[in-house]
Symmetry: C2
Amino acid sequence: MSGRGEIDRLVTLLGRLPGLGPRSARRAALALLRQPQARMLPLADALAQAAHAVRTCSQCGNLDTSDPCAICVDPSRDEGLVCVVENVGDLWALERAGVHRGVYQVLGGTLSALSGTGPDDLNVQPLLDRIAAGGVREVILALGATVEGATTMHWLHERLARFDVRISRVGQGVPVGGALDVLDDGTLAAAIMARRPA
Amino acid sequence: MSGRGEIDRLVTLLGRLPGLGPRSARRAALALLRQPQARMLPLADALAQAAHAVRTCSQCGNLDTSDPCAICVDPSRDEGLVCVVENVGDLWALERAGVHRGVYQVLGGTLSALSGTGPDDLNVQPLLDRIAAGGVREVILALGATVEGATTMHWLHERLARFDVRISRVGQGVPVGGALDVLDDGTLAAAIMARRPA
Ligand SMILES: [Zn+2]
Ligand SMILES: [Zn+2]
């Protein structure tokens, strides 16, 4: 298989995607290589377009093609109801479920001694600014039921306690030790509906 | 999630890759979107480069960046020993195992009433031409131990019987009902070593 630098490079890069091992990367590469015009070039184009278009929303931390993101500028969303999530994958999961009609704050992580993530590493200042400016009635802490999630919710609760804002957390529905973005829509809906004061 | 056409398109195209369901496609897209410069653009570039560079070898049916492919022009390979495989994935598997020192013929499928693949759909003429031109001592039939594989090997054996060429098939090592490209290197080596007259 010498002299096929382009093909090897493609297999290597595909193999670095989460969920794709070396074997499935080879299968994916083969499927693409068999249809260069119909499959490879469209994917190459989609990647290049998205790479140039993607922005991190300076308001909420979402990934979108505009800043502020489509959610933050959507007049039909309730700006007074802010849902705090760990990452954009969690935000996508809640949006797919269609269970949150407010806006978001994406922390970009949870407090973790193990990974060395401290308070300064979390994207929380925009939320504090929004609360200080008034107009936020309720903050929903929608972090996973892990040690890190619980620690982070506890820490956020302390930081937000001095403001006149209701603080709730997703309750029933999030399995112990479970991440949010693996849950089905019904479970997510139940978790949001059954939120309780934090 | 309205207004994010580029991101949705990327998730859709990634989700069409074999081995990536909608969920892992979203995970892959997120991992890429988080590093547009470091991950997305290199992958986009690799796809575009490979799409423009890839060729189907007119001699053996392999996918490579040159035609004839690197294997066909490699003077160290034994042109008298031709290994017949179903698809390029099988060829790659044998090359990774390093168990075949000859050249290949990639059929592009197996005879199958179900999928409507008939003799005319198989890329076998180059092999017949090579044999007719002389210089081929042995043809190894390395198809999977499936009904289609067995049918195809039987059919190939009949087509090749009139030539003065040894015909063998991979034997011990290929599990019944198993495909070739899931086998470990040792099993592939055993199958090649234990080949027997077809
Ligand atoms: Zn936003
Ligand atoms: Zn070739």
